[in-house]
């Protein structure tokens, strides 16, 4: 995987410029906004990173990891335990949390990723629920009552900045990792596995290993997101961090943005989170129902996601006279 290979298709410089501009704006945003919006955008970064992580498994490898939120919970609890019981600092605790999530995905991946389709989806849900039950049962996690983490040292503004930039960096890293993977052997291998696993295998791709790699990297990013989130909220309960809804929401972001594209999941996460903040955050009672409705509408009318829509618009613009031939 050390050798990267440029994609056959050309990347437009305009896209890259927009991307860099967007990153600069987001980096400077805390100069103008504060309090509530800092928190909103921090959580937006977190979801974007998790969506990008899930995208590796769902969008590229084509595996419906419906219980990927388990790594969010594992990362969160690992950090909580290390910081409260063993008095670790946040950074080492976070690193170990991410690596633990990755290791668990690596070990579970060998048997579980041999399952195809529905079986894999149900297995990941099962793993999520099993881990939640175990965490609720054992003593070190505080059980069902939850566990409190030490507070971030410093005033509330500093604290806000710390989590804003940490999540921002996590998101950028998740994009960079995805871009690096997509243009390298792992990315090509995953895309091949997604559509023709047998052909991929006889062309020399170790399909199981590649899927395990993808899932492990996905777990690492998700685990660190969980770790940061735990430190940010300073209180954890199993039913919150292992809620299958987290997985589902991230799943919807990936689908909404466009699975199997580098920026689609980020776009999907921003779109869904902002929409939810602006439109219906005050109506908590129907929040779930509206999400359900959005899901159904996306499935019916936007199956290729926002990126699919953009690409199609681009194609209409570019290929007016010659619709066939080179793309």
């Amino acid at each position: 995987m050390d050798k990267t290979v440029t994609a056959a298709r050309k990347r437009s410089p305009a896209g890259l410029i927009i991307l860099v501009l967007a990153a600069i704006i987001l980096a400077l945003l805390p100069l103008v906004i504060q309090g509530y919006w800092i928190r909103v955008i921090t959580s937006l970064f977190m979801y974007a990173a998790m969506a990008e992580a899930l995208n590796l498994v769902v969008g590229y490898a084509g595996y419906a990891a419906f219980g990927n939120g388990v790594f969010f919970g594992i990362g969160a609890y690992m950090t909580a335990i290390l910081m409260t019981h063993y008095k670790w600092g946040f950074f080492p605790a976070s690193a170990i949390s991410g690596l633990t999530a990755m290791l668990i995905a690596f070990i579970l991946g060998w048997p579980v990723l041999r399952l195809r389709g529905h079986y894999f989806a149900i297995a990941t849900i099962g793993i999520n629920m099993a881990v939640m039950e175990i965490v609720t049962y054992v003593g070190i996690t505080g059980g069902g009552k939850g566990i409190s983490l030490p507070l971030y040292p410093g005033d509330i503004v500093k604290q806000g900045m710390f989590f804003y930039y940490s999540m921002f960096i996590l998101m950028l890293v998740s994009i960079a990792i995805t871009a690096w993977i997509v243009h390298g052997r792992l990315g090509y291998g995953l895309r091949a596995i997604k559509t023709q696993p047998d052909a991929a295998e006889v062309m020399g791709i170790d399909t199981t290993l590649y899927k395990v790699y993808a899932w492990s990297i996905s777990a690492l990013i998700t685990g660190i997101a969980g770790s940061l989130n735990a430190y940010w909220l300073t209180f954890l309960e199993p039913i919150y961090v292992f809620d299958i809804m987290i997985s589902v929401e991230v799943f919807v972001m990936v689908l909404l943005g466009g699975p199997g594209t580098i920026l689609g999941p980020i776009l999907g996460a921003f779109f869904l989170k902002l929409l939810s903040e602006l439109v219906w955050s005050q109506f908590t009672l129907i929040h779930m129902g509206v999400l359900g409705l959005i899901i159904v509408v996306i499935s019916l009318f936007l199956p290729a996601g926002l990126m699919g829509l953009l690409r199609q618009a681009g194609r209409w613009r570019r290929t007016a006279p010659q619709s066939l031939g080179n793309r």
């Binding site: 050390d2 050798k3 990267t4 290979v5 440029t6 994609a7 056959a8 298709r9 052997r185 090509y188 291998g189 895309r191 091949a192 997604k194 559509t195 023709q196 047998d198 052909a199 991929a200 295998e201 006889v202 062309m203 020399g204 791709i205 170790d206 399909t207 199997g260 066939l324 031939g325 080179n326 793309r327």
Partner: protein, 252 residues
């Protein structure tokens, strides 16, 4: 030493002997045809060699080394490439990207530079006459082009042995002739080829030797002229064909 040796290999599926005690060898540089009526076990033999299914009994050797227990990707990296009867292009990729997969995952790929890989892809596309479609999505290819793509992907792996599973099925006469020409050219580049084919004229023309399977067993082997005179073969296979005349097999 033979390049590939299949020794007393059997495989059954739930009581059906798909391949029953089959033995043969393929020498370096040969084109060997594998023929037989539908359901004779030809594709199963190919799946056994490439490792997609496991051998019940017997052993397969490649360059003198046993292949049993190896995963398909390991076998592929030893130098065995194959095509599929029902083409399996990687959707959502261009023709070039499809071929690139072959170059990216061959045994020596880790040591190759990016430019070298691109060179391999370009050469392979030229060899299989796909340059014009290089940047088209595979979904836009017609059947003949898809068959060329199957070959191109396999060739980009730089195999020692190439297994071709009905690459000519469904093509018209002109396309078949073109493919025959291509297969010969690949052979001239030093690649040993095992070809399953229903298009009799093609397989008899191309092959240095022909193996005939019937109900899971090998019933004849030898030069095409000899095999086509073998009464068992005529009874099992060619008898029916002759009345129908040449050559085109309708696919699905």
């Amino acid at each position: 030493m033979a390049l590939l040796e299949v020794r007393n290999v059997s495989r059954s599926f739930g009581g059906v002997h798909a391949v029953n005690d089959v033995s043969f060898a393929i020498n370096e540089g040969e084109i060997v045809g594998l023929i037989g009526p539908n359901g004779a076990g030809k594709t199963t033999v190919m799946n056994l060699i490439s490792g997609l299914i496991t051998v019940d009994k017997g052993e397969i050797f490649f360059q003198g080394q046993p292949l049993s227990g190896l995963k398909p990707h390991t076998i592929a990296r030893k130098g065995i490439a194959r095509t599929f009867q029902i083409v399996k292009p990687f959707q959502g990729m261009t023709v070039r990207e499809n071929v690139m997969i072959g170059a990216l995952f061959r045994a020596d790929a880790a040591g190759l530079k990016r430019t070298h890989i691109n060179d391999i892809v370009r050469e392979t596309l030229a060899l299989l006459e796909l340059e014009a479609r290089a940047d088209s999505p595979v979904e836009e290819l017609n059947l003949a082009q898809r068959k060329h793509l199957e070959l191109a992907r396999a060739m980009a792996m730089q195999p020692r042995l190439l297994l071709l599973d009905e690459v000519m099925a469904g093509l018209n006469l002109k396309e078949i002739e073109k493919l025959m020409h291509l297969v010969r050219r690949l052979n001239e580049r030093g690649i040993t080829i095992l070809v399953i084919e229903h298009v009799m004229k093609a397989v008899m023309n191309l092959s240095h030797r022909v193996l005939v399977m019937y109900y899971g067993g090998l019933i004849a082997a030898g030069p095409p002229e000899e095999v086509s005179q073998d009464p068992r073969v005529i009874e099992a296979y060619l008898g029916k064909r002759r009345q129908k005349g040449p050559v085109k097999e309708v696919q699905q």
